[in-house]
Each structure stands twice: as C-alpha cells, then as structure tokens.
Symmetry: C2
Subunit: 365 residues, 2 copies
C-alpha cells in the first residue's frame, strides 16, 4: 500500500476526527475508496475505536432511486446508526462523477426531503468528509491518475497545526472587522461582517471544520453592494459554469451574466429569496491546492482565491439565536485573487495579489 | 447487466426475504458483490422498501482486527442498525477466500465474543445469506468464472415452490419418525430423532430458512451409534479435510480417522463436550447443485448427499424449552448417498442410491 494512504488515514483519524479509544465510528466507503477504508480501519483499530462500515455507492443509489415509486420514507436503521455514532468518516472517491446523472431532480429532492432526519443526525456527530484519489476524480480534474494523486496528497498531507495558526490571524481580523471589500479586474464588492464570527477551517472537528482537505477562513457576510466576477470555472448541477458576474444592490443580486452556464445560475437564483443573498465569504489558504480540479472540496480552499456562496449561511458564523440567511441552496462561486487584486477589511489591505500582509513578499500598501 | 443477476435479486427479495413496502432493510455488500447490490437496490426500491447498505470487506476487517489492541467492544451504532431492521440481506462474494488468513485465532474469537449482541440482533431479523459469483469463489471451487456463474445460478434460480412441496414430504416422514439409519460403504449409523422437528429449508424466511440457495431438510438428531464416513472433501478453518470417519458410542465420538485434516478434526472435537455430539442431520435436496465447490452454502444442499454437524443444534428443531446439544462450534461434514446407499426411517427405506421412494426410478425395496 502507498505510504501516503496510511498517512492520509492517520491525519483523518487523529487531526481531523480526533478519534479516541472506545469511540463509535461509522466509516462510509465510496465505490472507489476501498484502499483508504483499509488504512482507516487499521488506524481506528490501533486506537481502539469501534467501527461499522457503510457502502456509499452512487450506482446502488441510482438503481434504488429510479426504481422507487416516490413516496420515500426515512430508513430507520440508518437513522439509528448515526444517532448512536460519535463520529462519521466519509471516504469519497467514486468511479463516475455522473453515475446518478439520469435520476430526475424531483425524485432526488423527494428522497432528500425524506432523508432529512438522517442528514441531521449525521451532522450532529463529529463528521469529516475526505476523498480517496480515483481515476474518475482525475478525469473530472482533467489530469492523469498519477498527477492527480500527487495533487490530492499535497492538499491533504500538510502541517495543519501551522496552517491553523496562520488562519487564526485572518480569523481575528475578520472577527474584529465590520466591512470587507474585494477589488480586482471587474470586481468591486463591499459587504458587512459586523457581529459575525469567522471559522478557522483547519480540517479538524476541533476547529468546527469538517472537510479534509480544508484550509479556508469563512464567515457569513450580509448587505453586499457592487459587482463581482467569478473567474474560476466549475460544474454546478452538471452544467459547466464560467465567468459569472453578479451585481448586488440593497444586499440582493439584481443582475447577472455568465460566459457559460447562465441557465444554471438563473435556476439557483430563482430557488427562493435567500438564494439571491450571500451565505458565505470564504478565503482559500491551502497552498497545497494550486490548481482547479472541478471539485468544490478542493477548489474552494485553493490558496489565493476567495469564494462567495449564494444561499444558506453556516450557523457557526452567526450570533446565537440569529437565523442568518436561509435558503434551500448553498452554491459556492470562486474568484482568483492572485493578480491585481486586493482584499480590504475596514479600509486596510489584508491581502494583495494573493499575499497576506504578514507574509514575506507582500507588496507595500 | 446479466439478466440472471436481476432474477437473483428478485428471488432474494420476494421469495427469500418476503420484503414488503415500508420494510427497513439492511443490505450487506461484500467486496465483490457490487453488481448484485445494484440489482437488489432496484428490486427493493421497486417494492418501496427503505434501504441502508453496509460494506462487508474482509480486507477492512483484517486491517482492523490486526491493528486493534484486543479489548474489543460492541460497536453501538451497528447494534442499533440491526435492532431497528426488519430484514438483513447478506450479499457475499469476496475477492480472496483467504483474506483474513493472517488474523490469529485468539483475536478472531475475542472480536466474535464482543460482537455477540450484534450477531444476535442480526439473527432476530428476517435475514438471508446469499452470494454473488466472483472469481475468488470460482477459484475456490476449482472452476472457470463462466462455468462457476452457471453453477451458482443453477443452484439459485429454481422453482422453490415446487421444491418446498417435495421437501415437505421428507419433513413429514422425519417429524413422524423415531430413528434414522444411514447405510453406505463404510457407513452404518443410527440416531434418534424422536420428538424433534425437521425444518423444510426452502430458501425463505417463511420456512425458517435463511440461505439462498437452500434446499435441504434438517433436524436435530441425538444418541448416534455406529460409524460414518464423510467422503465429500471440504476446507475447515483453512485446512483441507478428506474422508473423515467418526465412530459414535453412547452418543459421542469415541474414535475418528481422516485421510487429510485429522488435526483440524481433533481441534473441533476438543472444543467442548457438545463438539463430540451431533447437532444436525441434514438431507441435501437441491439438484441444481451437482458438484462440490468447497463452499458450505452450496455443498451441504447438494442433491443426493447427507450431512451431519458436530456441535450446536438449531433451536427450530427442538421442543420448546429443551436446550438440545450446545457447543461453541457447528461443523458440517458431508457424505455422498448417490451410490450403494440408503437412508431409513424406523426401518423403512426413504432414499436409496439418491432416489427418494416417491420418485420415478427409485429402486424397489
């Protein structure tokens, strides 16, 4: 077995999920994630955790969803499984990113609605999502399998402690700040972050962070004004989306444009009222992620990028009792900040051309 | 997809497990059983059942067991999973029948002891075990993959209703009988079945039968006297076993001999007191199974064979409240009854040279 698979398992179990002896752990294994599952089982066994493995197969889901008459009900054993778990480790990595492409949207939504208690029980655990590099994901990224593996492990096998320390600086600035301004070619957007709390997303449940890799600081902005162009291409609901421009007035999207995928963006904006407002401002700080791979788990953490999400805000960013922006959707859009760009908080430049002000090589203001 | 995989799934879901709309079903998927899992998911979806899939990987188990310090505990989420399930479908079919060969016996037993509540919860459901034909199982059988698939579907895709009817005849004879005698070359064994109830194992939970394929009638004999030779070769605990002869006196094994695997047989007999007594007499009636494949799920149901098990008796065969033979083991040994053999109940020949007395071509008494 590739030594990096073992290291990945160790980071997942120790740094990300903080598993201890006696913990009850559910390991969800995607079709292509067998080798990582073996390494994770060894790591969990060594730490004396109790383990049950579930099979997360897109082809099995597709067959079930397409055959079902449509009156979905929650699977009670699955609900019980998560209700009794301390942690859930999702080992992604399928064999075809379009495996469920021919399940119609209505069926998908009906199943998701019925499954809501299961989802909530899962989110109440110390859950962590990661992926094992598969040929399918390499293909989605437009990369060879070998190169893709290098990419994935560069993103995952980092000095998380050190990165968490650096991200804490940015978190403090955002927590203390009132207004963020993004400026780059075709972008000049201001938004309020007053009273909101940033999350230091350091790939560990100890930091309220549930993705491996992670490496972003995010908060819940509101009242955006101005224009922003998202130049990082991505796939949203099966549609290629490129160069989306959003114009905000009075806190809402009033106009938009896209070089590709305009229909997908229109569908999102029409979901509900919250879909026209912002749910997230995230600042990517994982420099192990140095290219776009059309996988949001990686893309949104890419160093020198900023992403904004239309839709639902994360509870961790909101003052207790405040609902924040609510929506059925949460769709991230990403913009490159590495050139001719700056991110300001309350008028002070925090990042210019991808360099933070505390970094060597950052340009003088 | 091979149409027979779909038929297999339908037989499993409808005939064997009797799944109805709203049932909560756990589907356990072995490493090589993906294609069957897809077909089963479609069948379960069509019937409106609720489904959760678990991953039963020998390689994952091996990694976990070898790494664990040894103080195993029950996995509470797994216990909850089975406690809340109506049915559990075990889709076997691994990629290496020796995948856990280097897990030591002590570890295996400690894990099994800790896991007892999970096992019991599983057995309290409408569970069914079946296998998807894999290259590994073909290899174990000494067959090509193509030929092995033919073999498996011949065994599984039968007219179960008709076979259940035929087996009911034998069940009546055994239920009404007091003594069974087996006679063939090197075999002359009598045993009591007075007061015991035979199970018509027709591959359906409706018949108290939990294997697909099945096709045997079995009961719980006691007080065996005489000699029996088991000429069907098999693998027991990793050891090849051939031509085992057991001599019973006073209901217990007093002497034994084997052309191969004598040590494995000695280990079994030394497990506990119950391991020297009989737990089962089973009569194979599935003529779709026409050859030995070194897989007990198939071998013991082979037409024209009889098997006896050392060790634990099945509760379904015992009068209410009677414990029957108890042991930590239940080890089946098989003998061919197709030539120069007869099976008698209370002195009357029920089967001669593999033909039952109600069949055409059965020899006159």
């Amino acid at each position: 077995m590739d030594e990096r698979i073992r290291e990945h398992a160790d980071v997942l179990v120790d740094w990300s999920a903080r598993i201890e002896s006696g913990d009850d752990v559910v390991v969800s294994v995607a079709e292509g994630a067998h080798d990582l599952a073996v390494a994770v089982a060894a790591a969990l066994g060594e730490r004396g955790a109790n383990v049950v493995t579930t099979y997360a197969s897109d082809e099995v889901s597709r067959a079930y969803l397409r055959a079902h008459p449509g009156d979905f009900d929650v699977a009670d054993p699955e609900l019980a499984l998560y209700e009794r778990a301390d942690a859930v480790l999702f080992l992604g990595g399928g064999r075809n990113t379009f495996a469920t492409a021919d399940v119609d949207g209505e069926t998908r939504q009906a199943a998701a609605r019925a499954n809501r208690p299961v989802r909530e029980a899962r989110l109440a655990t110390d859950w962590v999502s990661t992926v094992h590099p598969t040929r399918s994901l390499a293909q989605q990224a437009g990369m060879s399998f070998e190169a893709y593996r290098e990419f994935v492990y560069d993103a995952i096998l980092r000095d998380w402690e050190a990165l968490a320390g650096e991200m804490a600086r940015l978190k403090r600035i955002l927590d203390d700040g009132s207004e963020v301004r993004l400026v780059s070619a075709d972008t000049d957007l201001t938004m309020s972050i007053e009273g909101r709390t940033a999350v230091n997303s350091a790939a560990s449940v100890a930091y309220d962070s549930h993705n491996l890799p992670s490496g972003e600081v995010f908060t819940a902005p509101y009242d955006p004004e101005g224009v922003v162009r998202f130049d990082v291409p991505m796939t949203i609901s099966g549609a290629r989306v490129r160069d989306v421009t959003l114009r905000f007035e009075g806190g809402e999207v009033v106009d938009f444009d896209a070089a590709a995928g305009a229909e997908a963006i229109a569908d999102i904006l029409d979901t509900d009222g919250g879909a026209r407002r912002l749910g997230e401002l995230g600042i990517g700080m994982n420099r192990g992620i140095d290219r776009v791979t059309d996988n949001i788990l990686f893309d949104e953490k890419m160093g020198d990028t900023v992403h904004l999400a239309l839709g639902r805000a994360y509870e961790a960013c909101l003052p207790a009792g405040e609902p924040g922006n609510d929506s059925a959707v949460h769709v991230d859009l990403i913009t490159d900040m590495s050139e001719e760009s700056r991110l300001e908080v309350d008028g002070e430049v925090v990042q210019r051309n991808g360099r933070f002000r505390w970094e060597e090589g950052s340009a003088p203001e």
